[in-house]
Structure formats: structure tokens, C-alpha cells
Symmetry: none
Subunit: 402 residues, 2 copies
């Protein structure tokens, strides 16, 4: 399941070299029409540019030419897992991130509070974006749901979003969404998309019926929609795959989820850089590998806010000296995917990447940007090959063959 079986076979456990992987979500961008410069090219990034000048640079492609990844596959690729072969349902990612008791055999789904009218038609798929606190209260209400022989857990995420985990015998995860994606129509009936998931449909239908009754007098959140059914991902841990004791540092729950799915320890932490970097510093002695996730750049890109993304990159740049002060043997700065502000969405463009270590060739990349890194010595490489690079630079991969 990891990108190359040889990584596992050749990984050496007798090194204490540390690897820090800083993932700037949605890092890559495209030029602003008015200036011809991308977000990275517009930002003043003295520390990242210095890293690029001294390290090995390139562009990482999460899924290969032309394919745009979601956050799950994009992260799995960075962690060295084949992103096509290891799919995690969005519901499973959410459940992992919420810290629910979610284990092998369980099935999770995303739960959105919504508004339905008197005829049962969805009038607002997000229930007026109720505040997070209201979402928490409603999740408490839903704890009254009881389905025979099934354990049901519900936990609030942000605003109108929550997650549900079902535990019981014979639960498959090939179940369609009830979210109709448009308003003015009723929720879609759930259906099994493959044999073995019929029982999940029965259980989820029972859950939906009871939820409707429990929320009937609420406003605006008087119903729920379920989507993104997915089983607990059965992935090899990074310890098993690479011999790395790994810590995942991410303020946003879903990224703790994907980190947890590959066996990283995770701790709750704030979304802000200060909290994340302080956690890194405080736990630096305890782990071999650190995944640090920066979320807001992606949100700015998705909102089409070019200037905000530039400012967030500049703010991050000021934290780079704190990383360097830890003196990791290998420091990698990259993104999970590109989110060009002018596209307002994830994209397929490969992602600027720098590897800084004692064993890199300082290459021709003069700045940390899309065009700068395209002159680097790593070329355009699959994101799933990054972990082999990381392990090699940490001297954690043995020679293959005599």
C-alpha cells in the first residue's frame, strides 16, 4: 500500500535523524492577471527563498499530470502511500479528525444539519450555517438515536458539519449520499452501491428517521443529510512502513484524521501558526518525523483571495527560522496540492517543493515558487516518491543489492 514495497524493505531503523515535513495547504498558485506573478512570486519570502537557493527543489505532482486531488489522496501521496490505491472516504477522514472512537470494521459518514420545509424538501443544505456551538448542542440531541445491535456515535465538527460513526456486524461502506446537492427537492433515499452494504442502508435509514423526529422542532436545523460513507482505512502505519515515530500537527481536524490513519500520534492544537509551531518545539525530542499542516493558505485560495494568500505566505515565512533553529536533519517544505486563487479551487498543477539537508545539491532554483522550483534538480516528481527522498536524506534507507 505504500508507494514502493522497497521503501519498507530497505528502511533502516538505526538512525536518529529527524525529518520535518511542512505542508502548506493549497500552496501552488497561478499568476495574477494584473501582474503576471503568482501568489508565491508576489509574496516577500526571504526565508523560503534562502531555503530554495540552498536546497534541492522541484515540483511534486500528487496524482500525475492533469489530475486534481482532494485533501485525502494529496496527503496520502505526501506520506508515501499510493494515492490511487488507498482511498479514504471523506466521512472516514472527518471521523478520524474528530477523535471519535473509530476502528476497523466501523463505517463513518459526514453529517450536515439542514433545513427542510413542511413538505420535506431541502430548503437550505447548510441550515443557515448555524454556529459551531449550536451544532454541538444538536449533536447532543442526536445521541438519543438508538438502533438495535448498532453503536452510533455523533460528534460536531465546524458550523453545520458533524460526523457519525456506525459500529456493528455486516456494515459495508458502499452507500450513496442523501444530500441532494440542490435545494427544493427531498433528501435522496440511501441505496447500497454494492452488495454487502445493504445493512448500512437499513441502519442509516433508521438513524435518519429518528433524527428527523428529534430535530422536528428545531429551526433552522430541523433535519440532517448524510454523505461520504467510508470504512475505517486499513493503512500500514508509518512506523511499520518506515520505522518512523511520527507526530501530526494540524489545527484542522481532518488533517489530524489523515495523520492518524497512517499511525501518527496526533494532539489537538489551535489553527494558528504560533500554536502549531509551539507544539512542534515542545515535542521535538519525542519523535522522528513531524508533519506540520498549514491550512489557511488553501482557504484563501478557495475564496479567490489572492492578496490574503500572499499575506498568509509572508506570515508563514517568518516562522521558517524557528524550524531551522530545531536543526532537523531533513526539512521539507511543500504543499498537498495547488489552489490557485484565480481558480478558486484545488488544481492539478504540481507543487513547489524544497528539500533542505546536508546531502542535497544546491540547485538552480533561485526562489521558492512555481517557476523557481521548476528549475530545480528534483524535476517534476510524483508526490508519493517524496518519502523515499526524505528517508534517503535522513540516511534511513539502506542500499539495494550488492
Amino acid at each position: 500500500m505504500i508507494s514502493s514495497q522497497y521503501t519498507k524493505e530497505l528502511c533502516s531503523r538505526d538512525s536518529d535523524a529527524k525529518i520535518v515535513l511542512l505542508v502548506i495547504d493549497g500552496l501552488g498558485g497561478l499568476p495574477h492577471p494584473a501582474t503576471g506573478k503568482s501568489e508565491l512570486e508576489t509574496a516577500q519570502l526571504p526565508n523560503l527563498d534562502a531555503l530554495a537557493k540552498g536546497g534541492a527543489c522541484g515540483l511534486l505532482s500528487p496524482l500525475g499530470a492533469g489530475f486534481t486531488p482532494g485533501s485525502g489522496p494529496a496527503h496520502l501521496a505526501l506520506f508515501g502511500y499510493d494515492p490511487w490505491q488507498n482511498q479514504i472516504g471523506r466521512g472516514a477522514l472527518s471521523a478520524l479528525g474528530l477523535g471519535l472512537d473509530f476502528a476497523r470494521g466501523d463505517v463513518a459518514a459526514r453529517l450536515n444539519f439542514c433545513t427542510v420545509d413542511a413538505e420535506g424538501r431541502v430548503s437550505d443544505r447548510r441550515a443557515g450555517r448555524i454556529p459551531t456551538e449550536k451544532g454541538r448542542q444538536l449533536c447532543e440531541v442526536l445521541k438519543a438515536v438508538a438502533v438495535p445491535e448498532v453503536e452510533v456515535q455523533v460528534a460536531a465538527e465546524m458550523e453545520y458539519r458533524a460526523g457519525v460513526v456506525l459500529r456493528g456486524a455486516g456494515l459495508g461502506d458502499q452507500v450513496s449520499d442523501s444530500d441532494p446537492q440542490v435545494t427544493g427537492v427531498p433528501p435522496k433515499p440511501l441505496s447500497a452501491l454494492a452488495p454487502g452494504s445493504e445493512r448500512t442502508v437499513e441502519v442509516a435509514d433508521a438513524f435518519l428517521a429518528q433524527a428527523a423526529a428529534l430535530l422536528a422542532d428545531e429551526h433552522p436545523a430541523n433535519m440532517v443529510l448524510l454523505r461520504g460513507f467510508g470504512r475505517y482505512p486499513e493503512l500500514m502505519s508509518m512506523d511499520e512502513a518506515y520505522g518512523l515515530k511520527a507526530l501530526g500537527i494540524a489545527g484542522y481536524p481532518m488533517y489530524r484524521g489523515v495523520a492518524g490513519a497512517v499511525g501518527m500520534d496526533v494532539e489537538e492544537v489551535g489553527w494558528d501558526l504560533e500554536s502549531e509551531f509551539a507544539l512542534l518545539e515542545s515535542r521535538y525530542a519525542d519523535y522522528d518525523f513531524f508533519y506540520v499542516h498549514v491550512k489557511k493558505t488553501d482557504s484563501a485560495g478557495e475564496d479567490g483571495d489572492f492578496d490574503l494568500k500572499v499575506r498568509l505566505l509572508e506570515e508563514l515565512d517568518e516562522y521558517i527560522p524557528r524550524l531551522l533553529a530545531l536543526q532537523p536533519e531533513v526539512l521539507i517544505v511543500t504543499g498537498d496540492h495547488s489552489t490557485p486563487s484565480i481558480m478558486r479551487s484545488h488544481s492539478w498543477h504540481p507543487v513547489p517543493t524544497v528539500i533542505a539537508s546536508q546531502w542535497t545539491l544546491a540547485d538552480a532554483a533561485g526562489e521558492f515558487s512555481e517557476r523557481g522550483c521548476s528549475a530545480g534538480s528534483l524535476g517534476i516528481a510524483p508526490a508519493a516518491s517524496l518519502m523515499a527522498h526524505a528517508l534517503a536524506h535522513a540516511r534511513r534507507l539502506d542500499k539495494f543489492g550488492a
Copy 2:
């Protein structure tokens, strides 16, 4: 077993264009901390730089990002064989290089003369690095070993090293080493690592018992260790794969071994460039393909001798005009892997490569170096793709499809 079946299907045998593949062992390097320049960048290489300016350049990755190859896989990749799928045990490589009568079904192992104390504990795993001539004499002594129904051959390599070949029915190669890797303990008992190799253990145990008796009065080489058991590699020949009559020119036996394993003719020749180039010139009319191996650069890198590696590269550069004088239709200069002097070991870094032919685009590479070639038109390519390039530039690959 070759990297692409299409190479074989499309190779054309009606060309007489010649291909010279010059392999500079451990070619790639990393910058010296004091100068920021690699071995190749430090050396004065007017002839190689001119080749790079006029040819197609790139970086060859033996095993893909991050993986460090041994000499066997690195060479098989250069010859167009999938290096992961075609593994040759070190003992088999040695035996091939020694010119032993080694054929399909035989099993070879490396034999090291060692010193054991009165209690049978290994006190020196290399028997004081006895001179090569002494090693030869002791191999003559070991010719007295006789095992019923098995043919045993022993041949000296350098110093304390030798090779042994066993021929007989039912000999597998999944056998552990007797070399304990440390001193102060007895040799490890051999064991079969998989069913089918039990008979090899019996035969090798008989060999070891007789060797101990034959060498009992010798000093310091009073015992032998066996390691790296491997069967004769069953690889398609380069003639079969590519229609090439090939000559392997290598002073160091192991490289003649890997050349022989892919069906090249090999001849004993000195380690020095003069001997190797003289052999190339004298046999130039007789073959289509020439593999010329330069060993000492790798040894200098492994010894951490940056300056020596620089001087050896400069010495080699002076021989390039002799290659050009032969006017091969395709001249390729590359390495099997990188051996940066500052790492004192093989590494994963891709290897500078130039293809000179009438049909190359002179690209942006201004010099023959890691950074120079990273600006070239071949990009970072798998080493196993090189043979298709070589055949194409020799007009020996037909069009695919109508």
C-alpha cells in the same frame, strides 16, 4: 526482464552503427563544503564539457527517487534490465567476474580467507589482508576439497577474497552467510533460508570442514568464510534483447561479471585507463556495443578522497579524444550511481549523463556536472530507459505502429 518489452520487439538488426557506453563508477557527487562545488564542477574537464555542450544531457536515476543502488542493480539498469526484478547475488557477480565455469543451475558464493583462534573464534575477518598472490596459492590448496557428486571450483579475486562455484543436483541459493560480521565469535552455522536449499548447506558445510583441515597450519589465513550465495543469473542476453554483439571492458572482475551475465563477451584487462582504452581500440571492428568501465572514481569517493576523485576525472577526460577518434555513432558517458566524496558511500542522487550522436539536440547543459546536466533535455530519467535512447540514436529501434 528487460526494462521494456518494446525495446526487444522494435529493435532492428540491420544497422551497423556502434554504441560506446562509458560508465564512470560513482560518477555523481556533491559540493565540497569549502567551495560549494562538486567533484565534477571542481575538475577541469574540457573534453567532457565539450561533449555536454554538443550533446543531449540529463540525470539518470538508477532505482528511482531516494533509492541507493549496489553495483549490480545499477549496472543492470544501465544495460536496460529492470533493476528491481533482476537481482544477482554478490557471490554470483564475483564468480562471473572471475571467469569461473559458471552456468545455469550452479550456485556461487564469496569466499573470504580469515583468521580463527585456537577456540575457533574469528579474530580477523580478512586474514590480515593477505596479498593477492598468497590468496592465489591458498585457492590452489583448496582445490583438494572433494564433495561426492558435486563439482567444486575456487578462484582467487583480490587479497583475501575469492569465489567458489558449486555444481550438482538440487542446489538452491537461499543460504545464510557464515561470516559473523564481527570478530571474537565463531563463524555462523549455515542455514537454508528457504526450502530447496538444504542440499547447498550440506555441500557447503562439507567444503568448510575440509577447508579448515587444509588450512589448519596456515597463518594468518587458517579458515574461510562464505557469504552472498547466489545462483547463476538467468538474464536475456543483449544480443537476444537488442540484437547487439557486445564487449564488456572492465579491469575489475565484478564488472566483467555483470557484463557476462547479460551475454557480453569479456576479456581480462588491467585496471588502468590505458589498458582499457587500448582493448577498446583493438576490438572496435568486432562488436556493435562496448561497455567501458572506470572503477577508481568510485573507490576515491568511498574513501572520501575528494581531490583524488577530481584528479581521476581529469585523467579520464584526457582519454575522451581517443573515444571520439573511433567515431562511434553513439557515445554515452554516464555513471552507474553517485558516490559523493563527502558521503563516503554510494548514494541515491541521479547521475550526470551525456548522449553524443548525430541525432541529439545540443541542449542547455553548459558543462558535464550534476547541475549542468540537470538543465539538459533528457530530464531526470530512469537509468533503465538509457538503452532505448542508445538504440534509438543508433537508428536501431523501429517505429511503433503505422
